[in-house]
Every structure is written in structure tokens, then in C-alpha cells.
């Protein structure tokens, strides 16, 4: 198998602030192959955007402490010179952002903004670049591309703007496209079109794609691999099918059950995950998710889970202190419609433990290693 296009190993991005050390990204690793789509899913504050921006070299704050490895096409990106990174950005790796209206400069015409992107990486004349820009606009499905290139961003509709951003990102044939919440700011109907467009272009140009989103539904169709992030770490990672069909992390279960589904019976309650994401300065001890986890055990407050592969599927990794068998049974119950509290009682025994109560659940946890 060819080497992965993008290899991220133990990436940490911490910010030194007056209030303390913000551990925005706290040791994540993933790979992306050519032509492959990785979906990174998580709530706001999970570190999903920061990790991608750091890959691009766009985390520029003075108080940022970055460590780990980011290898792109075999080349180490962290610690590369500014000029080297500049060459990579917009050429080998491109990124599109959430709000295309604020992400495009309001004073310059769209065509010219694409030309700019082209001319900073290719030695071509303005006319040639402009032609390419028009071509790209056509490629992303914008009608009358030459006329449109002569317009300003505020003269486009939301969906068209995002298409234009995509055109701009792909103008230099990047090997990797990072899409940070590409559909969040768009109407539902337009969302589908954009996702479809990204898929199509990916197939055409064999581009690797990383889609960052808080919405599992967005990556349901597109992604080959999915990584679920929580509080700066990946808590579950694996092929998309596995994640949707046999997820083994309580957080992932929560995400899945909070997606409204068209095919669910009316009157079915959405089950949100209670609580809020933790402060990245004062992380809860042990498993970061434990304050919100319906299945928390006493020990989970003290011991940090590791991201380990599941038995029987080395590509599926989960960071949870419950053992895999327990988790599978819990998932079955939830799938059957049992409420989390009941499921817990069924599988684990009594209700949630108190801080004082001695642990009664020996043997139900994955061995600590």
C-alpha cells in the first residue's frame, strides 16, 4: 500500500493563556490516503478546527505550543519554514471555510480572488489565470461562469458562494482539501448539493478530503473514515460503516441518537447528550467525558482511557474504559430503544455510582494497561 498522503501523529496544540494552559488539541493521530475522505466530527470546542488549521500552518498565535508530527507526502510540515508552508497552502493543501460570505473579501471580484490564488502558485499570465478561474467556476456548477467571475461576493447566493470557494480551493489541483463545516451556513437543500459536488470533484481529481463537522449526518455518505473528537482528543475512530453500525463510545452513541431522522417514527424523542463540553484548561480528571456519560463508573474519574483498537478490527479504535463486550451490549440495548439509564441498569447493574460507594463493578472494565 502506498504511504498515506497525510499522517498526523500525536499532534498537540496548547495555548498559554493568563487563565491557564488551554489544551485545544491533546494528542491526536490520523491518516488520510489519496482519494480518501476522512470525517472529523465533534462539538464546538472539541479541537477539530484547530487541528486542521494547524496542519495548514495557520495556527499563528504567539502563545501556541505545537508538538507532534504532521507529514504530508513524506514531508514534515510542523517546523517547516514560513515560505515552505506558504507554498503548500493553496497548492498542495487547500481549505474551505464555514461562512463563504465572510470568507471572501468583499471588495474584490470573485474571479480576481481566484486569479490571485492561482497566480501565487503558478507562473501564468493574468489572462490565463482568469480563464482557469472561469473554468473552475463552470466546473463547480455555476451557470454563466464568465459573467459571474466579474461579480462581487455579495452578489452571489449562499450556495453559489460556497461553490465559488470550492472552485478557488481546487483551482491549483490540491492533493488534499480540508472542508471546515462547509455546509453549516447553508440551507438544507443546498447542503446536499454542496456535499455532492465535493464528492464528484473528489472522484474526478482523486483529491483526499477531510470534512470537519459537528453533524454526523453530513459525513454519513461521504466519509470513508470517521474520527470523533471530544475535548481535544479522538475518542473513536474507524471506517464509516463501523462507526455508524457498531459504534463503541458513549459519546458517539449520543451523537447518533441526537440526529433527527426522517425515518424515525413521529413522536420519538431526540436524546440529547446532557451537559456541556468541558473547559479545555481544567479538564475533568480521568476520562474527559465522564461528567456527561450515562455509563460512568467510579474509576473513570481517575483513569485516562487510551485510544485502543477493538478486538477483531484493528482499524476501529475506541478510547473508553468499559470493556468492549460491555459496550456492545449497551449499544444493542440503545438500538432497541432502551433509554440510557435503563440500559445501564440492565447491563452494568445498579444505577450510577456515588463518589463514596466502593466500586461494585469489578470485571466490567477493560483491563488497565
Amino acid at each position: 500500500m502506498a504511504a498515506p498522503l497525510l499522517e498526523v501523529e500525536d499532534l498537540r496544540v496548547h495555548f498559554e493563556t493568563e487563565d491557564g494552559l488551554v489544551k485545544a488539541v491533546d494528542g491526536i493521530s490520523y491518516t488520510v490516503d489519496r482519494g480518501e475522505t476522512l470525517g472529523i466530527v465533534g462539538e464546538s470546542g472539541s479541537g477539530k478546527s484547530v487541528s486542521s488549521l494547524t496542519v495548514m500552518g495557520l495556527t499563528r498565535a504567539r502563545n501556541a505550543r505545537i508538538s507532534g508530527t504532521v507529514r504530508f507526502g513524506g514531508k514534515e510540515l510542523l517546523g517547516a519554514s514560513d515560505e515552505d508552508m506558504r507554498k503548500v497552502r493553496g497548492d498542495d493543501i487547500a481549505m474551505i471555510f464555514q461562512d463563504p460570505l465572510s470568507s471572501l473579501h468583499p471588495f474584490y471580484k470573485v474571479g480576481n480572488q481566484i486569479v490571485e490564488a492561482i497566480q501565487s502558485h503558478r507562473d501564468v499570465s493574468k489572462a490565463q489565470a482568469y480563464d482557469r478561474a472561469v473554468e473552475m467556476l463552470g466546473l463547480v456548477g455555476i451557470p454563466e461562469p464568465r459573467r459571474r467571475a466579474d461579480s462581487y461576493p455579495h452578489e452571489f447566493s449562499g450556495g453559489m458562494r460556497q461553490r465559488a470557494m470550492i472552485a478557488m480551493a481546487l483551482a491549483n489541483d490540491p492533493k488534499l482539501l480540508i472542508a471546515d463545516e462547509p455546509t453549516t451556513a447553508l440551507d438544507v437543500t443546498v447542503q446536499a448539493q454542496i456535499l455532492e459536488l465535493i464528492e464528484r470533484l473528489q472522484r474526478e481529481f482523486d483529491t483526499a478530503v477531510v470534512v470537519i463537522t459537528h453533524d454526523l449526518g453530513v459525513v454519513a455518505e461521504m466519509a470513508d473514515e470517521i474520527a470523533v473528537m471530544y475535548a481535544g482528543r479522538i475518542v473513536e475512530q474507524g471506517p464509516a460503516d463501523t462507526i455508524f453500525n457498531a459504534p463503541e463510545h458513549p459519546y458517539t452513541w449520543g451523537l447518533l441518537s441526537s440526529i433527527p431522522r426522517m425515518d424515525a417514527p413521529r413522536g420519538d424523542e431526540l436524546v440529547p447528550i446532557p451537559g456541556r463540553p468541558p473547559s479545555l484548561i481544567h479538564l475533568p480528571g480521568g476520562c474527559s467525558f465522564h461528567p456527561r456519560c450515562p455509563f460512568v463508573r467510579d474509576a473513570h474519574r481517575r483513569v485516562e482511557p487510551r485510544l485502543d483498537p477493538v478486538d477483531g478490527n484493528s482499524r476501529h479504535k475506541v478510547a473508553c474504559l468499559l470493556d468492549s463486550g460491555t459496550r456492545k451490549r449497551l449499544w444493542e440495548e440503545l438500538q432497541a430503544g432502551v433509554k440510557p439509564g435503563d440500559a445501564r441498569r440492565d447491563v452494568i447493574g445498579i444505577g450510577r455510582p456515588d463518589a463514596d460507594q466502593p466500586s461494585q463493578d469489578a470485571g466490567l472494565d477493560a483491563p488497565r494497561r
Binding site: V88, F97, P106, F107, Y152
Partner: protein, 323 residues
């Protein structure tokens, strides 16, 4: 756009009318000296005061006086128009005196504008890009001092230091030199100190303002996009950052120019430059209403017109604005 301009011009006339009205009311209502008595001199007989009142039309009811004044100014309304009356003080026509002093004020303003933009804009940019560095702290500290020092004080200090007749380090033409100079370059040399003094506070204000604006602008999403496109940092800062950050400065600049064209009173006084500002000040002290009216009208006109120009310019700068 044309309709917009026409509407604005109508508004200009209306504003000038209101300004004239307010000046007239203020002058006639607030406790002030009686111009006829001032003109009459010491111990005048009642007949003399009456004769003077008649001469200047002061014995007519206020409304008549006001509308006569308006009528005299406007062309096509009986008479030749553009008659701004006669100074109570010197008996000379007001308009030629104002026009005579206008070039000095324009010269002073133009030079100062160029100077403060040349200093303030680069400093603002550098400070914004290197926020928190020693350079940033130093320039912003100096800026604070420049803003705080009153122009008159700064002017006197400059004179006592550099005036070539009375200064400690006689280097530059000083107070009154503008009058004496006959050539363009002579006049320009005489304006060096006034330009510096006048620009100091403005340069500081513009630097701070641009710095703040640019810092905010650089947080915008489109800057992130620009970097993500792989543009050089220079290009990102100038073509994307500064280009946006500088647009509010256009508004600021327009208004500042408008105000200064009405007369930089303090600078003109301390350096004895016979511009409109000084003229207005002298007229106020002497209760010379026709001159006060004339200078106020000119001042208001400049401000309003500059405001209009700035708004129109904005439409060219920011494509989102359409009239």
C-alpha cells in the same frame, strides 16, 4: 447615483440655511456687544448711533435683516448675489476678504494632511502588524503624548525652540513668516513648523485608529482564507487587510479636511497665518456679524461638501454600497 447626489446637494443647501439661521440667532440673542455702539466709538450722540444703525441696516426687524442677508448671498434673487455684506469693523466687503485668506488655509491644510497621512498610516500599519512589540508600545506612547498636547502649547514651544528670530535653535521661519514670504517655496518653508504642529495630533490619532482597525480586520475570516490560499504575508496584510481597514479612514479624513478648511484657528493664531480661522476668531471677538456669518458659512460649506464627497467615494471603495 445621480439621483443620490442631487438629493444630497439639496440637503447641503438646507443645512447651510439652518447654519446661517442659527448663527444669526446666536449672535442676536446671546449677550454680546452691540455692533452699532462699537462702531460709533466713544460717547456717541443718539443721532450718530441711529445713523450707524441705518447704515448697516440694523434698525430693521431681525427677520428682515436675516432674509435680506440670504437674498444678498444667493444669485438670481434680485441683485448680483454673492454679496456677503460689509464688515462692521473695517467697512470692507466680506467675500473678497474671505477669498483672500482662503489660499493660506488651503495651503496649511493640504500640507498638514499630506504630512500626517505619511506619518500616521505607516506607523499605524507597523504597529498593528507588530502588536505588543516594543516598537508598537513606543509609537503608541508617543502618539498619546501628541494627542494630549494642545496645539497652541505645541506651537509656542516650537516657536521658542526653532523660530529663526527668537528661538533657541534658530532654524525655521517662525511667526509671521508666512506673510513675509513671496515665493511658493518661501511660503512653504514658513509653513514647516505649522504643518508639524498641526499634524502631530492628527498623525497620532490616525495611527491609533488604523492600528485598531487593522488589528480587528486581521481577525476577519477573509484574512484566514487569504492565508489559506497561500498568499504572501505582505499581500495578505496590504491587499486584504489594509485595503479594508483603511476605508473608515476615508470618512475620517474627509471630515477632518472639511473642518480644517473652515480654519485651523489655533495654529493660524500662534503662527500668525492669515487664514480663515484667524479671520473668524477676530470677527467673533469684535462682534462683526457679517464676517462671522461669512466664515461660518464657508466652514459649514466645506464640511458638508467634504462629507458628500466622502460618501460618494465610499461607493467606489466598497462595492457593497449602492445608492
Amino acid at each position: 447615483m445621480a439621483a443620490y447626489i442631487v438629493r444630497r446637494l439639496i440637503w447641503v443647501f438646507f443645512l447651510l440655511f439652518v447654519v446661517t439661521l442659527i448663527t444669526f440667532i446666536v449672535f442676536n440673542v446671546l449677550p454680546a456687544a452691540d455692533p452699532a455702539l462699537l462702531r460709533a466709538g466713544r460717547q456717541p450722540s443718539p443721532e450718530l448711533v441711529e445713523s450707524i444703525r441705518e447704515q448697516f441696516g440694523l434698525d430693521d426687524p431681525l427677520i428682515v435683516q436675516f432674509f435680506r442677508y440670504i437674498g444678498d448671498i444667493l444669485p438670481f434673487v434680485g441683485g448680483d448675489g454673492f454679496n456677503f455684506g460689509f464688515s462692521y469693523q473695517s467697512n470692507q466687503e466680506v467675500l473678497p476678504q474671505i477669498l483672500d485668506r482662503l489660499p493660506a488655509t488651503i495651503f496649511l491644510t493640504t500640507g498638514a494632511v499630506i504630512l500626517w497621512l505619511s506619518i500616521g498610516i505607516p506607523i499605524g500599519m507597523v504597529s498593528a502588524v507588530k502588536t505588543g512589540s516594543w516598537l508598537d508600545r513606543l509609537t503608541m506612547g508617543i502618539a498619546l503624548i501628541a494627542i494630549s498636547a494642545p496645539v497652541y502649547f505645541l506651537g509656542l514651544v516650537a516657536l521658542f525652540l526653532f523660530d529663526d528670530s527668537i528661538g533657541r535653535f534658530p532654524l525655521l521661519p517662525g511667526s509671521g513668516a508666512y506673510q513675509d514670504a513671496t515665493t511658493f517655496f518661501g511660503k512653504a518653508a514658513a509653513l514647516i513648523m505649522p504643518w508639524c504642529v498641526l499634524s502631530a495630533a492628527f498623525a497620532a490619532i490616525y495611527a491609533r485608529f488604523l492600528r485598531g482597525n487593522l488589528i480587528d480586520t486581521m481577525q476577519e475570516d477573509y484574512i484566514r482564507t487569504a492565508r489559506a490560499k497561500g498568499l504572501s504575508e505582505r499581500r495578505v496584510i496590504f491587499r486584504h487587510g489594509v485595503r479594508s481597514a483603511i476605508t473608515p479612514i476615508v470618512t475620517l479624513l474627509g471630515l477632518d479636511i472639511g473642518i480644517l478648511l473652515g480654519g485651523a484657528i489655533l495654529t493660524e493664531t500662534v503662527f500668525n497665518i492669515q487664514g480663515i480661522g484667524r479671520f473668524a476668531y477676530e470677527a467673533i471677538v469684535r462682534f462683526d456679524l457679517p464676517v462671522i456669518q461669512g466664515t461660518v458659512l464657508f466652514g459649514a460649506f466645506f464640511i458638508v461638501i467634504m462629507s458628500l464627497i466622502v460618501d460618494i467615494l465610499y461607493a467606489f471603495i466598497d462595492p457593497r454600497i449602492r445608492y
